[in-house]
Point group: C2
Chain length 332, copies 2
């Protein structure tokens, strides 16, 4: 009798414990993160800035967090998604541009010769982007992007690009918003290339997406007003351009910033320079099996100086291999 | 007995009616508006876009409303507040610029000769603004603006400028936000001149203020990163620049726009051009007694072509004299 009673108690205890653990797992806002230093640092930061009465408390209006996109929120290898889009656009527009058959980088794009495309350098790449991204209304461009993303797939994961977003970062965005943060994208990529899908993929609305841009012109034809995209650079939101873009669009300093490459270094420095609690995080691509392994020597998403600075200043560095339980939602 | 019972019923009815009317008055979100056509049009628009199942229903993410600032949200006569700020800055900076004693428009600013200042034309005024607004960090500029606004007063109302905001428009901003709208300023005025006080005056945070700007440069001196304001125009957010600015900063079309001059015409056209329910409103300054009376012939805040278009297209036109019960909070 005594034994059976004890057994019953143990059973009840085990059931309770199991339920409690399940609940705890359900309540974990960052389930795709391993319980290592980066996750602990994130939670500790959020706790201290949201706790009223804490010396580090930050009012909701100042809880601004900025995220790089390529390589921080979604895959950037083996080439930036937007470059892939531009190359596909070259093929589509080629009939209207017979001169492209003999002019680089367009010839390279048509021949599938990436070496020739890359050899055209920054000037050539900017021209490639500008000419394939202009000459239509902003509305038409949105439709072109949306329609391209609906059919294009990532060459390694064979999934739509909008599914190749990092699940731990999607959870982090939601966790910050649940704690009163306003989350912004601050990317070197095209602002109007990201806006059509950022809400669905990341929960970030168009007005919280900052990026590089070409100029637009307002014109009215037959009484219909339109914004036409011009083949002229407006703003490059990369490197030192990131704090400039943040100031221009947001008008105050972030208290948290997230990047993965040297192009994010100044954004993190600018974030770190403010007074009060600050959080700076760098994603290091260390997982050649589940994603890619690259940093100091990569031509895309090079992470070298910013990694040194992160180490020197104690910024949080995420090793994708060690700190992320899962990288993509589709990799269950 | 019967009479007394009836009397009691009447008394109870009157008390109930009076309470109901009081409650209704307390619940009126636009108490400074007369019950005339503009107020009714605003309420009807908000009702139809927020009513689920209505053919005009608009989801919260698309409830974007844009407001001009000078002359729409606060006083712009007898000169733009920011011009007054620039003139005061000229006096303050004059000891460092001996050449200003003999160069227009600076000489005019120092002599209090507004005719000479205005005679320098747009080029002169832009130079006046640029040189008085640059050469410091963005943080220092915020402090300069804040400190100037704390002591400067409007020459007609003898109140701080931040109190010379239109009470009916402040109520309108709050009413729209209470109905799920995101409210933005889209002004020809300087973006960094407005941001330090727009939250307190209008409930609009820095990241929802769009305006004209000069360039900034990111630099690190002795390990301290800063954004330095340069004497170089970055963007003019006026006329056709307003839809361009809206697209650049917000990334989707507003469904409601509010202005008071020809400089707002393209913003209202751009807003009107979208599909679905739209609301365009122009504030006409018709109250020489309580504020100022000016429109078609004014050099500041000229309202001529936009007024014709408003009439032709049935946009809402507010006559400040007839449609606003009260103009400023201090005019009780």
């Amino acid at each position: 009798m005594r034994f059976r009673s004890n057994l019953r108690s143990v059973c009840v205890f085990v059931i309770c414990l199991s339920t409690a653990l399940q609940l705890r797992a359900q309540n974990d806002p960052l389930p795709s993160w391993n319980d290592t230093a980066p996750k602990r640092a994130i939670v500790a930061f959020v706790d201290k800035v949201t706790k009223e009465g804490s010396p580090d408390f930050v009012p909701v209006s100042d809880r601004i967090a900025t995220f790089d996109n390529d390589g921080t929120l979604w895959v950037e290898q083996p080439m930036y998604v937007q470059l892939r889009f531009a190359l596909d656009r070259v093929k589509e527009l080629a009939p209207q541009h017979p001169e492209w058959k003999t002019t680089q980088p367009f010839k390279g794009a048509l021949d599938g010769d990436m070496k020739a495309v890359m050899a055209s350098g920054e000037k050539g790449l900017v021209q490639l982007i500008m000419l394939t991204h202009s000459g239509m209304t902003v509305e038409q461009f949105q439709q072109i992007v949306t329609s391209w993303l609906a059919s294009a797939t990532d060459p390694k994961f064979h999934k739509p690009y909008t599914e190749c977003v990092y699940q731990p970062m999607v959870e982090l965005l939601a966790y910050l918003r649940a704690n009163g943060f306003k989350t912004f994208i601050v990317s070197g990529g095209g602002i109007e290339f990201m806006r059509p899908w950022a809400l669905k993929a990341y929960g970030i609305p168009p007005e919280q997406v900052i990026g590089s841009s070409i100029k637009t012109k307002f014109q009215t034809v037959d009484g219909k007003p339109d914004l036409i995209r011009l083949p002229e650079v407006n703003f490059i939101d990369d490197g030192p351009g990131k704090p400039v873009g943040i100031n221009q669009f947001i008008g105050h300093q972030p208290i948290a910033a997230f990047g993965n490459s040297d192009g994010d270094q100044q954004m993190l420095e600018w974030t770190a320079s403010g007074s009060g609690a600050r959080f700076m995080l760098i994603v290091d691509h260390t997982d050649g099996q589940r994603e890619y392994a690259y940093d100091r020597k990569s031509s895309i998403g090079k992470l070298d100086k910013a990694l040194d600075e992160a180490t020197a200043k104690g910024w949080t560095v995420v090793s994708m291999k060690d700190d992320w339980k899962q990288i993509f939602a589709f990799q269950q």
